[in-house]
């Protein structure tokens, strides 16, 4: 276990180094003067500001020195301030918007799991029968329809036709309370959930089919246990291991993947802010959000990997 841990941590450090370096290089890769790019069209004429930005970016230092300085600040969660929206700290923006994106991701995974587990179990239990082919076909379709199209369909159905839920916007729990919040969150979360649901249910089905062929399932049958009891108590548990792994990895991916859905539903999360920043060419905000999401993603993946090693003894020994 110690060796696995050490190797995994070494890889984590190497990956974090690369991820931060790549994000840092974003400002240096820009054509022309980075200070001008960071300031944006409106502020270029202001020489004092230009000097300030040059100072903050340390443009007179060579790139390695700048990287170390930038990383030192970034570790203390100081990612600079937006010069397009003066005085707005990038780290404050992230703090403000992360809860929204995280809520969407958690809800999406929750909805996906609630739907996917029964579908996968039915598919495995009725392998080869019509129930199986129906759920498999549904999963195939859900995998192929991009989530923004699902989102538009949901808007059309629930906001335009049925007029039950708002088509866009976001109510914070702190402002409007939980039920108002859920009303705005349910559609984007469902749009995100469909793809995840398809992935999860295919995984559960494949795992369960393998598990159901095991001898201990046969012996449980021989003991006269009911099908439902065997499925839920004996078969689902070993199958849930790989499910947990993929849930962990996909949660990390969803933090980045909500960009399109947040834009579609005008949800004020990290992704929506990122798109705004890209449209305004607000370089430091782009850089800050990119490095933050990437680091979170990498860390989550490592944690999932390690947890898996803790749970599954075969990996622990290897």
């Amino acid at each position: 276990m110690g060796r696995v841990l050490a190797a995994r941590l070494a890889r984590l450090v190497a990956t974090l180094f690369a991820v931060t370096l790549l994000s840092f290089l974003l400002t240096s890769l820009l054509p022309g003067d980075p200070a001008v790019a960071v300031l944006g069209q409106d502020n270029i004429q202001n020489p004092e500001l230009l000097a300030e930005v040059r100072e903050e970016l340390g443009l007179n230092d060579p790139i390695p020195v700048r990287y170390v300085k930038w990383l030192g600040d970034a570790v203390r969660f100081d990612l600079g301030e937006s010069y397009i929206n003066r005085g707005q700290e990038v780290s404050d923006t992230i703090k403000q918007r992360l809860p929204v994106t995280a809520q969407l991701a958690v809800m999406a995974i929750g909805i996906a799991l609630v739907l996917a587990v029964p579908l996968g179990v039915i598919g495995a239990y009725k392998e080869g029968k019509w129930q199986d082919s129906t759920t498999s076909a549904a999963a195939q379709v859900a995998l192929s329809v991009p989530n923004f199209i699902t989102g538009i369909f949901l808007i059309w159905l629930f906001a335009v036709k049925l007029d039950l839920l708002p088509a866009s916007n976001w109510n914070r729990i702190s402002d409007k309370g939980l039920s108002a919040n859920l009303k705005t969150a349910i559609l984007p979360a469902t749009a995100l959930a469909t793809t995840q649901m398809a992935i999860f249910s295919r995984l559960v089905r494949a795992d369960m089919i393998a598990t159901l062929k095991e001898n201990y399932i046969l012996s449980a049958r021989a003991k006269g246990l009911g099908d439902r009891y065997i499925l839920m108590r004996h078969a689902l548990r070993p199958s849930s291991l790989s499910l947990m792994t993929i849930v962990g990895i996909n949660f990390g991916a969803l933090l980045g993947g909500t960009v399109v859905i947040e834009t579609l539903f005008a949800v004020p999360g990290l992704g929506f802010r990122l798109i705004n920043a890209i449209n305004q060419r607000d370089i430091l905000v782009i850089q800050g959000i990119t490095v933050f999401v990437a680091v979170v993603y990498v860390v989550i993946n490592t944690v999932v990997d390690l947890l898996y090693a803790v749970v599954d003894p075969r990996i622990r020994r290897g």
Binding site: R11, A14, L22, L26, Q140, S144, I152, W156, L274, A277
Partner: protein, 334 residues
């Protein structure tokens, strides 16, 4: 470019498929001793109906895209297809009259799928949009198969330190959430041409292909026929190009289909966000984005490009899965 590759599907290879190989006559161990390659007709014959329909749709999309491109470049709009950017209700200087079209028309013989919010022919815009998807998917697949396929096969075959270094680099790139990395890269450029978008997506596709190629190359490099080639003193380079790479290819091409599906969705998302190819070039993603604003008054205009995108992705997944199953049969027979 993604660890998910569009659909991180767990290919299940039921054991009964293994027996089917010997009867399906793909590998003819007859008198020549050389395996006979299945003809296109035989491959199509093996396809289930749904896969056949998918393949037909994909062929249509490819031909449509090329036709549209020929029309707008070589023939200057002389071929029978409407101008995708012409606002058909516009004032025409030559005739001195307004056009006869209307915004948001219903389907008719002049406009097969009606017109969009500013009276442009939707059918033509969809066919022209197919060109963008085709190029992005094609460039990504070529980069992936040629560069990723070569390096993956190479490191899986030679192993050692080269492998460790290459795979470490690849792990790092795959550690980035794909869409975020793409957005960050795209945000650098102010002018986004089709060349730029397809190059960026193409380069980002390489790591995933390398990983797939390496895994297959590892397995193949341990097979008897590679050992036999070594034993008779064949040069390593010859083994790599004559034994390993040709056997990695079928799996890689099946993967390319699934990956292309993912790449088309990624380009669609970029277009939807307004960060892909510049307007007025139509793409399925930007058509969906423009039409969704009028969804209260007109749903048809959202439906057509959404259908085109979804059906194409579904078809690529179907055909890709088919070739993957077929490839695994073939592996079992080798």
């Amino acid at each position: 470019m993604s660890t998910t590759g569009g659909a991180p599907h767990t290919p299940d290879f039921p054991s009964d498929r293994l027996t089917r190989v010997s009867t399906s006559g793909q590998i003819d161990s007859g008198s020549t001793g050389k395996p006979r390659r299945a003809t296109l007709r035989e491959v199509i014959g093996e396809m289930p109906v749904l896969v056949k329909i998918s393949a037909l749709w994909l062929t249509l999309v490819v031909f449509g895209a090329i036709y549209a491109k020929l029309d707008s470049t070589v023939f200057n709009g002389a071929l029978p297809l409407q101008d995708p950017n012409l606002q058909t209700n516009n004032f025409d200087v030559n005739t001195g009259a307004f056009g006869t079209g209307d915004p948001l028309e219903s389907p008719s013989f002049t406009h097969f799928l009606g017109t969009d919010a500013i009276a442009r022919d939707t059918f033509s815009r969809i066919v022209h949009g197919a060109w963008v998807s085709l190029i992005v998917a094609g460039v990504s697949a070529s980069f992936g198969i040629i560069v990723g396929g070569f390096f993956g096969s190479l490191v899986g075959f030679v192993r050692g330190r080269t492998e460790a270094v290459v795979m470490a680099g690849i792990d790092v790139i795959l550690a980035f959430p794909a869409l975020i990395l793409l957005l960050a890269l795209v945000s650098i450029f102010e002018v986004r041409s089709l060349t730029l978008i397809s190059l960026v997506i193409g380069v980002l596709s390489i790591p995933a292909y390398t990983r797939v190629a390496r895994a297959n190359s590892l397995a193949i490099s341990n097979r008897e026929f590679v050992l036999a080639a070594r034993a008779i003193g064949t040069k390593s380079r010859t083994i790599l190009f004559r034994e390993v790479i040709p056997n990695v290819m079928p799996t890689l091409i099946a993967y390319a289909m699934v990956s292309a599906a993912f790449v088309i969705v990624v380009e669609g998302s970029l277009s939807f966000l307004g960060l892909s190819v510049q307007l007025p070039q139509s793409t399925w993603g930007n058509m969906i984005n423009q039409a969704r604003r009028d969804i209260k008054s007109n749903t048809a205009q959202v439906i057509w490009p959404s259908l085109a995108l979804s059906v194409t992705v579904l078809s690529l997944n179907q055909v890709g899965d088919f070739f993957q199953r077929r490839g695994s049969n073939r592996d079992a027979a080798l």
